[in-house]
Structure formats: C-alpha cells, structure tokens
Symmetry: C2
C-alpha cells in the first residue's frame, strides 16, 4: 500500500517559554509523512522547497523512506518559513511571521508513478489545487483532506466542490464551526457531513478528537502527557498516524476508523513531547503499540 | 446506604443568549442531592436558607426523597442569591452578583440521625467548616470534598489539613493548577495526590474529566450534546451522579470508580440540556442507563 501526501515543507522558528529552535524542519507534508512512515513502506510526497532547503532535511526524509520524486526544488527560490511563539499554557500561539516564498506559487504536479496511490492526504492548500491533484489520480481508495479558515472564507465554492469528492475531512473545532456556521460542534458536524465528506474528524487539540460518519459518533480525549514541549505539527501528525494505520490494515470500517483515531492521537502525543519533528524521528512499532495499549487502559471501562 | 450532602441552596438568576430564568432553585447541595437521588433512597441534606425560600422548592426536594431535617431555615433571613450570564459558547460565564445572605454565617450542624451516613459530599464551603462536619460524623466510608480558588488562596492551611482526611477531591482544572501551582494537569494531579486525598477527579467542563489515584489514570471526554442550554450546576451534578452510583454499588474499586465517573458525566449531560435544575427532575434509571450505554458505545474501541 502507498500513501500520497500533498502539503507544505518549511523552515520553522519556534519559541516557547522554555526553548527556541530556528529554521527547523516543518510543514504539513513533513509531519504527515513522518507520522505515516511508521505504518507504511511507501510515502509519496508532493511539495515545493527552494534551493536553500538544507540537504540534511532531504536526507532525514529519505531515511524515513519518504519518496521525493514529487518534491519540486525551485532554482534560486526560497523555502516557506514560519515563526510561531507559544505561551506557558501551550494552547495559544502567536504567529510572528509567515513567508510563503516558493509555496506561494505551488502547483502540485503528481508524478506518473504516484498516480496509483491508494491513500491520499490533501494537506491544507487552495481547494482548487486540491481538486487538481484529485483529477490527476487514477483510482484512490481513500482521500483525506484538510483545510483552514482562510479557504473556508475565501474559496468557499471551490471547497464545497472538493468536499463532495473526499472520503474524510479532518479539521479543527473552530474551522468546523466556521464551515458549518454553527456554534455547537455536533450540529456543525452533521451539517458538514451533508456537504459531502463521508467521514469527518474534528480535532480539539489538547481536548481530543471527534469522529462523525452517517453511522457512528466516536469521541476520544487526548493522550494525557506530563510534558508538552511544542504543539507545532500535532494536527498534521494526527492525520499522518490516522492515514498510516488505515493504509496498513487496508480496511475501512467503523472499528478500524476508531482505532485509526487512536493511532492518530498516539502519534500526535509523541510529536508534542519534543521540539519540532524530533518526537517523530526515533519511533518504532513497539513504542507506538505500547502507547496505544496505554491509551486503551486509561479510557476503557466496562459496561 | 445513605448519602450526606453539605453545601449551598440558593435562588439563581441565569441569563443565556436564548433565555432567562429568575430566582430559580440552585446551589451546590441542590444539584448534588438531586443527581444522587436517582441512585440512593436516602439523601441527607445539610444547608441553610432564609424564610423567603419558596415552599415549592421544599416540596420539590422532598419529592426526590431528600431529607431536610438538616436544613436550617433562618427566621427573617434572606436566601443566598446568585446571578450569572453566559455567552454564546456557554463556556465563559460572568457572575453579575453574589449575595451570600444567610449562607455567610452558615455553620453546618449535623443532625444525630445523619451522623452514620456512609457516603459524604462536602460541597464547596470554608475548609474549616468542612473539617467541623467531618468531626461530627461517626464512621463515614467515603468522603468527597469540593473547594474553589477562594479557599485555595485564603485558607490554604485549613484546606491542606482537610485534604489529609478525605477520600476524594473533586475540583476543576483551573483549581487543580492553582492548588498544585503547576500548569500541567497530570503533574498537578500527582502533586495534589501527595497532599492526602486518595483519589482525585479533575473536571474539565465540556472537555470531560480525569480520575487519578496512586494506581490508575482514567480520562473521559464529556458526553457530546447537540443542545446545551445552561451549564449551571454541571460540576455539582457530576459529583452527585458519581457519589450516587458509588453508594448504590457500595464498592470502591478501580472499575467501579471509572463507571462512577461515567455516571457523573451522564447526569451532568442531562443537567446542561435544560435550564436550572429542570434537566434533573424527570429522570429515571432507564434513561440514565441508556445514556451510560450510549457513552460506552461512542468511546469504546477494541485493543
């Protein structure tokens, strides 16, 4: 099984009350791909960087068997950069700057050998581009898409067209409320399901996640952690763990979807324990399964 | 089995963007007792009201077989009053006024026939008074206490003395952080357990609850609701459902504690669906068990 990931690659400068990293590896496609790489032998990445993108990061991605045939490296171009600052509670973050650079003109071209990918994650980019990607694929089995407030407000029609074509939408709670124009999350979720996606995941940050389909509702808390060092990328990591697990079992049913939500939460918990992508670099199946089992034991009760 | 409840009775004026009620039945002891009444045949209530406390509310409590031998009715006294206002998201509330009135000089006297109560809830009052109550009891089996920022800051020593004597502390997340002086909830919880209470429950409002003991950690989301009309009393209702269930099974072990947390969440979910105490008036075991089963099905996954 193979997973196709489209999204951003960037250089992140992150400040918390405890530490700071500069120009560290970041971007949605990076977090999604690294998380998924623990479940799936082939990750096909499509993204764009400038010539200034450090070779060591290329190597790091390759070491996680992430295929970079779809990575455009723009001559004389400058890589996407973002700087964010977190407060003590790690919930509110301030964006100090966003430099889109080469990401501004990103137009994903899917290499021929990627077009048969069965699992697809359309990271948060212009919904028209997300649709373009879909049109380049042969016969994907399960398509997940992400979006954000910016596109909900500015490209609403294109987004609505896209939602009819995807299997799962993964967004956070404020995005769900905005998209549905409803303050109650469950009612918002029902409205969004009517827009087209067969499954909806609403991420609530440190408060867990919600899965809604026409058939089921499933709600989980986040994995409780004693140390949270950097929440950057947690949402994308969640999506990566989720799609990774689904691609591994290659079955989409209610029970596997629920487990996929837990695996997404598990990967996100590893992510936020360390700075930048560091929490996703030295995992293995045993560590992941162990935390999954822990998750079961701290949430399970008998009827 | 009998439950002893000490706390406030009051007249609440509550405003939300959708409705308003004036001088409705409220107070911690009321919510706790009503919720517990669905599990336990004898609820012994100790509290204070003024002569202006409406007879219809006395009747309402009696109809839920809540014993009022311990209710002090102060001649010419005025009942505790509170007015709160909620915003659209129902999470932030503003206290418009608090009139302590007769509650200001509340000094709980436990009637002789209450002193053998096995399950005890010390609602949020001065920790010195909570300790006085404990000293009047013969041999309680399980003592739960609540507190608030005010006492954590102003009666810290008395509170710490009390915590050594209680079986379970139930507080919300901001109170836990303040009491432990630690921003991380899990680390705060560990610090609080070292202060004495054998079990700790941290309520997170619409985000669920956390149970911590020396042996286990258990975390649950809140029951997802499509309509939240009035969050007033949800935390006290949670405690009432929890103690009610424990008194019913009369066994304190990890599995029953977990189920008690779920029953607490279930009762709280009924509470917030309607205004004031209305959601707690027409329940029955079947409705409660049905929602418990629903709770299981929306949170359960297979290992």
């Amino acid at each position: 099984m193979s997973i196709l990931v489209i999204g951003s690659l960037g250089l992140d400068t992150i400040e918390t009350p405890f530490a700071k990293v500069e120009e560290s590896l970041g971007g949605s496609a990076v977090y999604i791909s690294l998380a998924a790489s623990y479940f799936c032998p082939i990750i096909n990445l499509v993204g764009v960087v400038g010539e200034d993108f450090p070779e060591k990061y290329i190597q790091l991605l390759r070491e996680h068997h992430i295929d970079l045939d779809g990575l455009q490296i723009i001559k004389n171009g400058k890589t996407f950069r973002w700087k964010g600052k977190y407060d003590y509670d790690m919930n509110s973050r301030e964006t100090i700057f966003t430099e889109l650079n080469v990401f501004k003109d990103f137009n994903p071209v899917i290499p021929e050998n990627y077009r048969d990918s069965k699992f697809v994650v359309l990271g948060n980019i212009d919904p028209e581009l997300q649709m373009n990607v879909l049109n380049q694929l042969h016969n994907p089995k399960f398509v997940i898409c992400d979006t954000m407030n910016y596109w909900i407000e500015r490209k609403n029609d294109a987004l609505k067209d896209l939602l009819k074509k995807v299997d799962m939408l993964i967004i956070n709670d404020s995005e769900a409320r905005l998209l549905a124009n409803h303050p109650n999350l469950i009612q918002a979720g029902k409205k969004i399901l009517k827009m087209g996606p067969k499954k909806l995941v609403i991420k609530k940050g440190e408060h867990g996640a919600l899965l809604m389909t026409d058939e089921i509702l499933f709600t989980v808390p986040a994995y409780p952690l004693e140390n949270i060092n950097d929440p950057t990328g947690a949402g994308d990591t969640f999506a990566g763990g989720l799609v990774g697990y689904l691609s591994k079992v290659n079955v989409i049913n209610n029970e596997e979807l629920k487990r996929a939500i837990i695996y997404g939460s598990v990967l996100a918990s590893f992510c936020v324990e360390k700075f930048s992508v560091d929490g996703l670099l030295d995992l293995n199946y045993l560590k992941i399964k162990d935390r999954f089992n822990q998750f079961f034991s701290i949430t399970h009760f008998e009827e």
